[in-house]
Amino acid sequence: MSSFSVTEPSKRSKWFAGTLVIVYALVTMVPLAWIMLTGFKSPSDAISYPPKVVFEPTLEGYVNLFTTRTRQTDEFLAANPPETWYDEIVREYDMVIAGPSKFGERFLNSVVIGFGSTFLSIFLGTLAAYAFSRFKIPLADDLLFFILSTRMMPPIAVAIPIFLMYRQLGLSDTHLGMILLYTGVNISLAVWLLKGFIDEIPLEYEEAALIDGYTRFQAFYKVVLPQAATGIASTAIFCLIFAWNEYAFAVLLTSGTAQTAPPFIPTIIGVGGLDWPAVAAGATIFLLPVMIFTILLRKHLLRGITFGAVRK
C-alpha cells in the first residue's frame, strides 16, 4: 500500500534532506569549530602538522589577547614570583605582563559603533518606511529608487572621497563618524525592508486607533510598532551584522580612538611572532555578541524573513 501526501515528504526524501543538511552544517561549522579550538591551543599545537584534534587546552591565547608582555632578565623573574594564574602562563616564556592590551577598548568600540549605528538605522528607517508606506509623498517612487541606488555600488568604491570628507569634517577616527558611516550604508536596506513589513500591516488598525481616541503618532507607536516588531528585529540583525563585521572602512578611517575590533585583531599577529591562538581567541570573542543577538531574535528572524511571502 502506498500513500501519497502533498505535505508529508516520503521517508527517502526525508533521509536525503537530513543528510544534505548535516553535510552542509559540517562544511560551515568546521571552520568555526577550528577557530574556537585554536583559541585554546598552545602556539606550537596551533601550527603543528597534521593538525591536533586532541590537545591540552590552555588559556594562553586569551591571556595574550588581553595583555601586553615584556621579556625580563632571569634576576627580575627570580625576584618577582608570579602572583596570578595568568602571570604563570606567561612566565613559561620568560615574560611578564606589562599591562592590558587594546583589545578590550577595541571591542567596546565595536559594540558602541555596531549597536549605535544599528539603532540609528532602525530608528530613521522605521520613520522613513512608515512615511513612505502611509503618506502621499511627492515623487515617492523616485525617492525610494534613489535610496536604493546608494547600494548599487560597493560602498568601498567611495572610500577616497569619504576619507577626504571625514578628514575635513574632523570625523576621522571618531565614534560618531563611524556610526554615521555605517548608518548611511545600512539605511537604504532598513528603509526597504521595513517598508515591506509596514505595507503588510492593514491601515485599518491605525484607523481603529484614531477612532479610539489616539493621535496619529500614538497610533503609530501603540499599534504599528508592535506589529512591525518582527520586521524591525530581522532588519536590526542584518544591520548589526554588516556594521559589526565591516573591515575596509574601519581600516581606512580608524586608527586609535574609534578603531573597531576587525582591524585590530590582525595586528595581534605582529606582536611577538605569529600568535595564532590569540588571533583565534579574538575572533571567538568577537563572534559572540552577534551570535547572542541573533539567537535572542531568531524567532523573529525566521518569521520575519518569510513574513509577507504569502498573502493572507
Binding site: A208, D212, Q218
Partner: protein, 365 residues
C-alpha cells in the same frame, strides 16, 4: 446620542469624484443604512462622518456642531470595520479597554465597564483570550464591544457582517438590531446587501455613482422608487421595466401600452417619448383573459410563491404568483397590473414621473 446632518458633502480623490454634493439627515436614534453597489461612495461618506477622510467641501453637523474638519478622536464617533481591525497584539480585554484608556479613565472603572460590555455581548468567557484564535462571530462581538464600550454619540459600521458566512450573518444582524434598539444609539450602517438594508434599517439612503439616488424608509424606497436605479437595485427579483414610446398627460390616470389602456396612479407630471412602465413582480397578475398578453418562458418554484418569466410586447417580465396557480411554459396568458403600484419613469433621465403614489416621497428627494 445624536442627530447627524450631512450638507452638500463632496469628496474628490485627485481627479476622481467619489462623492458628489450629497445631503441627508440622520435623526437621533435612527438605524440608518447607506446602501449601494461597490464603488458608489457609501463607504467614503461613512468615513467622512467618522473623520477618517476629510471632505473636499460641505459640512457635517453632529448635534448642531460642525465637525467635518475635526480629527476622529475629537468626534466621539465609534467605527466598526469590515475586517474588524481588532488589535492583533492585544487580548480581548485589552482590545475592549483601549478606547477607555485613551480617555484616561481610571483602571478600576475601565475594568468595570469592560465587564459590563462583555456581559451585554455575551463574551465574558473569552475576555482573556488573544483575538487571533477567535471565531468570526466572536471577533464581530469584540469589534462591537470596542465600539459601544465608550458610549459614543454615534456608531459607524462599514459592512460589519460582510466577513461572516451567510448563516451566521442572519443571526448577527438580529443581534445587532436588538443591540441598537436596546441602546438607542444613532447608527450609520454601510451595506451593499439590499435585503440587509430593508431588514435592519429605519431609513435608507441609496447611493450610486457618487450621488444619493433616494432617501427614505424601506417602504418608501421599495414601493415608491425615485429612480430606475433604485427600482432595479432593491427587490429580488427587481422591478419590471416595460419600455414604450408614448405620452402621459398631466393629470392622466391611464397610459397606453402596446395599444392597451393601463390604469396608473394619477400623474402630476406629463411626459412623452421614451418611457418606462415599472411594476414589481408581486403586483403582476396572470389570468386567462386580459387584453395585454405574454408568453410564459420559464417558472421558478420558490415554495409558497413562484416566479414566472414572460415575454411581452414590451420586453421580458417577471411575475411573482401563488405557487398553486398553474402556468406552463409556452402558454400565452393575460396580464394584469395592480394599478395603484405602477411607477412611470422617463428613460432618458431615469427618474420617476411624479404621481399620486410617490409625490410625497419625491417632493423632498
Amino acid at each position: 446620542m445624536a442627530q447627524i446632518v450631512i450638507k452638500n458633502i463632496r469628496k474628490d480623490f485627485g481627479d476622481f469624484n467619489a462623492v458628489k454634493e450629497s445631503s441627508f439627515t440622520i435623526e437621533d436614534g435612527e438605524f440608518f443604512m447607506l446602501l449601494g453597489p461597490s464603488g458608489c461612495g457609501k463607504t467614503t461618506t461613512l468615513r467622512m462622518i467618522a473623520g477618517l477622510e476629510l471632505p473636499t467641501s460641505g459640512e457635517i453637523y453632529l448635534d448642531g456642531e460642525e465637525i467635518s474638519q475635526l480629527p476622529p478622536s475629537k468626534r466621539d464617533i465609534a467605527f466598526v470595520f469590515q475586517m474588524f481591525a481588532l488589535y492583533p497584539h492585544l487580548n480581548v480585554r485589552r482590545n475592549l479597554s483601549y478606547p477607555l484608556v485613551s480617555q484616561g479613565m481610571a483602571r478600576r472603572d475601565v475594568k468595570a465597564k469592560v465587564e459590563e460590555v462583555a456581559q451585554i455581548l455575551g463574551i465574558t468567557d473569552i475576555l482573556n483570550r488573544p483575538v487571533g484564535g477567535l471565531s468570526g462571530g466572536d471577533r464581530q462581538r469584540v469589534a462591537l464591544g470596542r465600539a459601544i464600550v465608550r458610549e459614543p454619540k454615534a456608531f459607524m459600521m462599514d459592512e460589519p457582517l460582510g466577513a461572516l458566512d451567510a448563516e451566521f450573518r442572519e443571526h448577527m444582524s438580529e443581534e445587532l438590531r436588538a443591540l441598537h434598539d436596546r441602546m438607542g444609539a444613532t447608527t450609520v450602517y454601510v451595506t451593499h446587501d439590499q435585503l440587509e438594508a430593508m431588514q435592519m434599517g429605519d431609513k435608507i439612503v441609496v447611493m450610486n455613482n457618487a450621488v444619493v439616488e433616494q432617501f427614505g424608509t424601506p417602504q418608501q424606497i421599495y414601493d415608491k422608487p425615485a429612480t430606475m436605479f433604485v427600482a432595479d437595485f432593491i427587490g429580488s427579483p427587481s422591478m419590471n421595466f416595460l419600455r414604450f414610446d408614448g405620452t402621459v398627460a398631466d393629470g392622466a390616470d391611464s397610459v397606453s401600452l402596446d395599444g392597451q389602456v393601463m390604469q396608473i396612479p394619477r400623474h402630476m407630471q406629463g411626459a412623452q417619448g421614451k418611457l418606462v412602465f415599472g411594476v414589481r413582480p408581486e403586483h403582476v397578475t396572470l389570468s386567462d383573459d386580459g387584453a395585454y398578453r405574454g408568453e410564459v418562458l420559464a417558472s421558478e418554484y420558490l415554495g409558497t410563491t413562484q416566479i414566472i418569466t414572460l415575454d411581452t410586447p414590451n420586453g421580458e417580465l417577471k411575475a411573482r404568483i401563488d405557487s398553486a396557480q398553474v402556468a406552463s411554459v409556452g402558454e400565452t396568458v393575460g396580464l394584469g397590473f395592480n394599478p395603484g403600484t405602477v411607477t412611470l419613469f422617463d428613460e432618458g433621465s431615469g427618474r420617476a414621473l411624479r404621481s399620486e403614489l410617490n409625490d410625497e416621497v419625491l417632493a423632498h428627494g
